[in-house]
Symmetry: C2
Subunit: 354 residues, 2 copies
């Protein structure tokens, strides 16, 4: 296809801190390779944001930067944050004021996290079986709403609250998205994960919503697991899962566990998706910024590269997304114990793109 | 020791539903065996409570029964609840109105859950290592407080909230208990599990309390993990844990996972402990009532028997508790694939009690 016919995708890149810049560079490399001469061409704008930027400027996510980000077609995000225990910035500040602020401001209500155990990848499980599921984690409400407060802080009479906010609007749109994704997968199975026997108010809303939306998808079977039981199945029978839909906090917990049993968060991709396309969606590896290995070309860029595939899928380039996934699968199948630099892994995957 | 010198322990037994009666019978068998002719003698009172009792009478936990329970030295609890999906009773009702009501009314602020991978027991992990830790789960507040509500239920404008209540009083007493337990273990290590980067109000209280109480236990080292990261370590390096202290909901989740990696909830014991001894503590297997296998002598009574050991420990009979744990360990080491009835397992463990 000639340049003239290819669509220009305006892509914001937020490399962030630690290993973020290294892994996003490889994701960009693969994005360029898979679209070369094809139907899309990337126009990149890099944004300097993250803990280091805060330390230098005191800025987390200024309004004008947020506005500028809204003008792009999609966002590729690396990782942000300082090392655990580093006291140079208040703990959690950059996560809340940048990462979560982006998810909430850009209405990323579908936090999509696929878990697949690729051939050639070691699982900590003795008999993992055929693991291939996706978690559709709600991304804009629940215990992440930032609601709650403190009374009599620092005294023996202190009380601290955290309020989980769950709306019919918020739950229904993410449940419908999960059913839609389930209906497009071979097994067509959806599992709601919650804790409705204890969290009765939110639980009732989630359960009722799943029952209601299920009627629109008669081809999809659905079941329910308490979050505690879900963690058991995650290690005893993970192949039972196809599509999981769950709230923001439960989704946070079980997707890290899901990543662990499929080879670690070094391989786990995610999309923060606004399905209404009112704002750009954002794609990021599940791993953090790992400052201890930053700048040493030790980080595995696979999660970032798989996140780039999710980005292409979201923008409608299913074929290109599949080609990245196949290239990653081929690379993983032959990795063995080989030690390669971040760039070498990116090069190998880019080369494997058909 | 003669009968005259032995202390009489007034024990309430709540066998409950499903496999509850079968497994508690074996726990009682072992309790009687280990104390026979010894320093303690059990005076049992059985209470008919649970889902079946509710179906028959409409009662969950009447005030007069709760008062009667308060008069005992300890409570042995089996399991309650109907099968998942059984609609003969409202979902979660018996869990909340009986089990959680007992934990809250009797101020069981230490929900103690040991996780140990015994020799002879299969883990789903390929390389579990030497797993031996305890989780001290807060038992009387957090998201379990039953706080929250619903507005415009069943409409597109519905909002459902869940409020996690955390008090300095509640957090400090359980953190201190966890440090005390850590100080008595060989590794003397405590890990706080929370999600303070997102749940900032509660998280700050938990972190500050751990720092404060740590000063009283200079011999104990302590660290911190976000709950999502904790689930990763639970499958990638569970031997790193010694004592975990965490809130009610995170504790619920990670203890099921901990049970799964150490051989399943069929082996997981727990104590709902009131360390101030203002009310009796309650000991129960972590597993549920499993109505599908009830009355068939298929259930494994090991978790109930290990819970009985925790009961003895709480009452100060450390020697007797250790003898049960050794008998269980000996039995587990030689189980292999043997199929035995619930009573046969109980008999074998009772016989192995030295
Ligand atoms: C960094 C943190 C705020 C974030 C979350 O809790 O969502 C992370 O754990 C994730 O899963 O993307
Ligand atoms: C039955 C349920 C209310 C209970 C809990 O959530 O605490 C159970 O899962 C447990 O862990 O004992």
């Amino acid at each position: 296809m000639s340049e003239e016919q290819s669509k220009v995708i305006s892509l914001a890149v937020i490399p962030g801190d630690g290993i973020g810049p290294e892994v996003t560079a490889e994701a960009v490399k693969v994005l360029n390779k898979v679209t070369a001469g094809g139907p899309a061409r990337f126009d990149l704008t890099e944004y300097e944001l993250g803990a280091e930027h805060w330390l230098a400027t005191g800025e987390t996510l200024p309004d004008k930067t947020l506005d500028a980000l809204k003008g792009h077609d999609a966002i590729l995000f690396g990782a942000v944050g300082v090392a655990p225990g580093d006291t140079s910035m208040p703990s959690g500040l950059i996560e809340r004021e940048l990462l979560l602020k982006l998810r909430f401001s850009l209405d990323h209500y579908v936090n999509l996290r696929p878990s697949k155990l690729y051939t050639g990848v070691d699982s900590p499980l003795a008999n993992p079986g055929d693991v291939d599921f996706i978690v559709v984690r709600e991304g804009t409400e629940g215990p992440y709403a930032g609601n709650g407060g403190v009374l009599r802080e620092g005294t023996p009479q202190e009380i601290a609250t955290e309020v989980s906010l769950n709306t019919a609007y918020g739950v229904e749109r993410v449940v419908r998205d999960a059913f839609r994704r389930a209906s497009q997968r071979p097994r067509r199975k959806l599992t709601l994960v919650h804790k409705h026997n204890v969290l009765v108010n939110a639980g009732r809303l989630w359960k009722r919503t799943v029952e209601k939306v299920a009627a629109e998808f008669p081809e999809v079977t659905h079941d329910y697991l308490h979050v505690d039981a879900a963690t058991i199945f995650m290690v005893s029978d993970p192949s039972r899962f196809d599509v999981i839909v769950t709230d923001n906090l439960f989704g946070d917990i079980i997707t890290d566990l899901a990543a662990a049993i499929t080879g670690g968060i070094g391989l786990a991709a995610s999309g923060n998706i606004n399905m209404d396309r009112t704002y750009p969606s954002m794609f990021e590896p599940v791993h953090g910024s790992a400052p201890d290995i930053a700048g040493q070309q030790k980080a595995d860029p696979t999660a970032a590269i798989l996140s780039a595939a999710l980005l292409l899928e979201h923008l409608g380039f299913d074929d290109e997304a599949a080609r990245i996934q196949q290239a990653v699968a081929a690379d993983l199948a032959n990795r063995g114990g080989k030690r390669r630099t971040t760039a070498e892994v990116g090069d190998a995957i880019a080369a494997a793109v058909s």
